[in-house]
Symmetry: D2
Subunit: 168 residues, 4 copies
């Protein structure tokens, strides 16, 4: 059996300390469960998640827009530079079994949409604004019957994860 | 001076005849103005726009997700197969000077977001639902000061276009 | 019937004036035949070909690695920025009906290989060194029965083109 | 310190049993050294390398052209579907610190060229024909001073690797 890969998406610029704490705690808990984490490899939410994963001895992969491994935050174990610019936003959704969105601006929304198109279950975190909150409980369009599952706490996310993983 | 390139984005599956009539009329009017049209090259809105452009003797380019020119609708003058799957949704926004969204599901929303990130002016058509209507008059995130300009009629679109082009 | 699209590939840095004259003359002759020209949109061979096409009133498209239309040489009619870095080298071969290689380093060789994989006829110009010369008359691998057709003069290229186009 | 990532590239269709034995042995030895292996994730050389890595308890990543994890061979630990078609050939070179080519047709040659452009050291295996042999000891173009380092045995590859890694 392959390990579960969890995509965590969110903004590279975060000014809300609570959001970073949430992301770090989430990374830690996901790593404890043995999930591999994949992100966009940059700052903000992506860095916090990988930092948490590292704390718990987990593995995180960062799919970068540039051609330079140096663009990765220091907690990424395996940086994957793509030099595809923002077209790299298609890859985290494709590589993930489940996608968790925390806040987010246009770039995160792109990743949510790719997750939707590629039929990946999406968990949308509530509490920090952004597109994960705006779309939580909703559908991006009518081609799927499920919704973006709303989660308020790290515990919520983990519970929804458990349920979703059984359906993979 | 290079010719203005207008990106028109929207769904490949349209069940509302009015929407197709709108798209065709828009394509015709844009072509009359001498604008080059770029779309995703497939069915639905994309086909209707190119059909209209063809009627007026205009030029339309279709940037396709597959590797096959045959995927292009019959009104595309220059099909550009990319074999990039939905990552091709990054290209129409980049090639366009102005982007016009008509309705649309997740794929169109991706193109609206790329347009937003790459700082292209966006016109959002109102009247056929979809993401162009949901986001008309709004911002996708706070990194830009302008909004997705709402337009109800083809005439509206053309008037906004005229104004936007002066700022390019 | 769609117009024939000819991909012309070659280096962005050319120090041999004869090579640029060849490329410009080729662009002019291709445009006279009514073919649409597609290149990587940058300097060197790409610029010379578009310059020639412009002289004859033809249309040339430039598929750029960056996100900026300004990267295009001044003779490109329709710049298509992709922000895909060198992954954009997959697109000219896909959009072309026939590919003509003039000289070239690693980037041109990539485009020759993509042309080979996507089953596009390739003409390899002899006389200016580079990969077009090294591979002229040869196969890149054994999956195709044809070869990279060698051409010494612009006239050669045009004659081979005529023959190839009949088989499309 | 990040772990060294080794890209191994080669054909998906291999009819020479010795070549597969070589690739498997190489994967095993690379994994024993603690290197992470990244390949195109498919059959042939890619599968043999991951099989060897698995035997030694190593980690291998497979960057796939399609959108389906199922395309990965059974020994890939982390499949990364890209849905980019053959444009995915740009990613293994970018993610690798060192690239090892075994045989190979046009697709492998594309990866060798991207490795060259992105300035990654390349080891070219001799003994099984293909582009790794044709280019061993040579330069793809004049922009680099080094060559594609020729290696006849797995031991050769490992020795060259050791030397190259000191320069990273």
């Amino acid at each position: 059996m392959r390990k579960i890969v969890v995509g965590v998406i969110g903004d590279s610029e975060i000014y809300n300390k609570e959001e970073l704490i949430f992301a770090e705690k989430l990374g830690e808990e996901l790593a404890k469960k043995g999930y591999i984490i994949i992100t966009g490899g940059r700052t903000g939410v992506m860095e916090a998640v990988s930092k948490g994963a590292k704390k718990a001895g987990g593995l995180s992969i960062g799919v970068l827009p540039s051609a330079c491994k140096e663009e990765a935050n220091p907690y990424v174990d395996i940086p994957i530079p793509t030099n595809l610019g923002w077209a790299r936003n298609t890859i985290v959704p494709l590589a993930a079994d489940v996608v968790i969105a925390i806040g987010g601006r246009a770039g995160t929304l792109i990743e949510m949409c790719y997750s939707w198109i590629y039929n990946k279950p999406i968990i949308g975190v509530i509490g920090f604004g952004g597109w994960s909150e705006k779309l939580a409980g909703k559908r991006i369009d009518d081609r799927r019957q499920d919704v973006i599952y709303p989660a308020k706490t790290v515990k919520d996310v983990l519970q929804i994860m458990e349920r979703l993983i059984k359906t993979l």
